[in-house]
Symmetry: C2
Subunit: 351 residues, 2 copies
């Protein structure tokens, strides 16, 4: 994966860094007359309440509207040591390069450090035989991990907002994922040793738009990697408007609420799943409720490195509990699961 991108790092001069002092507070006019757009900075401020303004923080910035606004809000809130992390997925030719130029200029103007890299997403997807979307995500995650290492910083701020959450939940629902997918993105989550914070997760796109207009935030129209998110863009542009016409706007609150409920249930259910070991005892499995059996097997397969294991693989492994049926089932990645002497175990296929 690593050879799929090159990094460039640039540290702004401290003098530049100071220049943004005039940006560190919300304009007085808005303070005197609170308006809807100011929901955004207060939501972000509240989500970031645990952080000192002097703490170093990584910020994922594509150059698109959402991340440019996140950056603007963080700077206005007084965060002084932001590292703008920008990955060029090299998927839109010249436009991708222009995104980087734009992000570099804006980071400089705001007195932020910049960490950027170029990833060869298409080649990586082809090499790994995975979708462009998955390739882009993996490269992005590796890039953020590298930024964290370079800057000795474990906190990454991302610009996901309520409408992203709705799209994520809807997309996962339509792909048939269980509670974990339906629970959507968490306000705070872990990615390896990184902690990801999403302070705008409760803020609707509409509010972000208002903020953008009020503060005239500049952004790159296409920086959201539209091509990557083909299916999701279709959801955004045709399915979600159709839902709104059918049911009114209430679903925009309903989905994140359900996600919140499911998140707690997901956490609770996960706490019952035993730590994965090398083998699974058939007897232990049989003693569990079906839902726990499924979760236990799924976690076990994942921990054993079975690629793309899902419902079908879980179902096949569970079918091995039936001693009148076959004692072996094939799995992706040239592996198979086998039942012998009351345990389930994995083998590398040799046939």
């Amino acid at each position: 994966m690593w050879r799929c991108w090159k990094t460039t790092s640039s540290l702004m001069a401290q003098s530049e860094f100071r220049k943004r002092s005039k940006l560190t507070s919300v304009p007085t006019k808005s303070q005197n007359k609170p308006t809807t757009p100011e929901l955004l900075p207060s939501a972000v401020a509240s989500a970031m309440a645990g952080f000192s303004r002097k703490k170093k923080l990584l910020v994922g910035v594509s150059g698109g509207r959402d991340s440019m606004i996140l950056l603007d809000v963080l700077v206005r809130l007084g965060f002084k040591r932001l590292v703008v992390c920008h990955l060029d997925h090299t998927l839109r030719g010249r436009a991708s390069q222009e995104d980087l130029v734009f992000v570099r200029r804006q980071a400089k103007a705001m007195g932020c450090e910049l960490e950027s890299a170029r990833a060869r997403t298409t080649e990586f997807a082809a090499e790994q035989k995975i979708s462009l979307e998955l390739a882009a995500r993996e490269l992005r995650q590796a890039f953020f991990a590298k930024c964290a290492k370079i800057h000795k910083c474990r906190n990454l701020i991302l610009a996901h907002h309520a409408d992203d959450q709705i799209e994520t939940c809807l997309f996962n629902f339509l792909r048939g994922t269980g509670a974990s997918g339906l629970a959507g993105m968490k306000p705070v989550s872990k990615l390896g040793t990184l902690t990801i914070h999403r302070p705008m997760l409760g803020v609707e796109r509409r509010e972000i738009d208002l903020y953008q207009k009020l503060h005239r935030i500049r952004f790159r129209e296409d920086a959201s990697n539209a091509e990557l998110l083909h299916a999701r863009n279709k959801l955004r542009l045709s399915v979600i408007p159709a839902i709104e016409r059918a049911l009114g706007p209430g679903f925009r609150r309903a989905i994140p609420r359900a996600a919140e409920i499911l998140r707690a249930e997901e956490e609770w259910m996960s706490s019952f799943v035993p730590e994965p070991s090398e083998n699974l005892s058939c007897r232990d499995l049989r003693g569990m409720p079906l839902a726990l059996q499924r979760r236990t097997v799924h976690r076990w397969l994942k921990s054993c490195g079975v690629p793309e294991c899902g419902w079908e693989e879980t179902r096949r492994v569970l079918s091995l509990l039936d001693t009148t049926g076959p004692a072996k089932t094939n799995l992706p990645g040239g592996l198979h699961a086998r039942r012998r002497a009351g345990v389930l175990f994995l083998e590398k296929g040799t046939e």
Copy 2:
């Protein structure tokens, strides 16, 4: 509720009943050359495997395509004591009456008993201050319960199919229900003392259409009470096609699969919720994971008869656990919940 409908009962002559003998097996042609349409009778046969062909069964029949096909399949499978249960919701004037005439004629032709009633749905909805959809459902449920009593029969067969399941799950998802709504309809469920069976739940509408064409089943085009299901019809006619254009047809399998996973998880989680008692101990509640707290409070509120209690009511009751906050919160139906001496209890509002 009872005065909102009048029942009529009719028992076909046994001679009529015998006439359908020629219908009791699937046509030989199809048996020799299995075609897609025959998935339907085999799915129904497999779901109904536990029943003797002589057992008395109630069948919900609107006169629309799905229920007429269910009835046809059951008769062909050899079930000899079917009671066709038809409720006229009196929502479409003359057309509703014609549905009854049609269902009566078909039931007679197939040698089935008929149990029918007319419900004044609009008036009931107005009286109860509930939506037409909810009113129709409550009246239908009461009607089925009455049929069960009259016919001393505890098994009701309904014609819900896979596309209904998708609509139900999608609708519940968009309304923000948790796992219980997302889990959709069960193949077998309880309604009071009635057991409801949905033998077509795994069958897609497409297959039902094929069966209808192959066997030229007659049905009433409008008998599905289109007006009742306004939002759901919009989902069916505009949202679901938009999803199919965006993501392809895979979601039709994905949603029922997720529903199956969630159904097992729902069952598992429910098993942890304590039997509701009069009061809730704050200490016990505080010792629970958040997800179980929510489920416990929600079940308690429902068992106490709080009307329309959902996420917001549950959240408000749980906020009473915070001893620095208010010790009372208002609930629907003129009730309020109060914290005193370490327990939560409900009171009828007198203020």
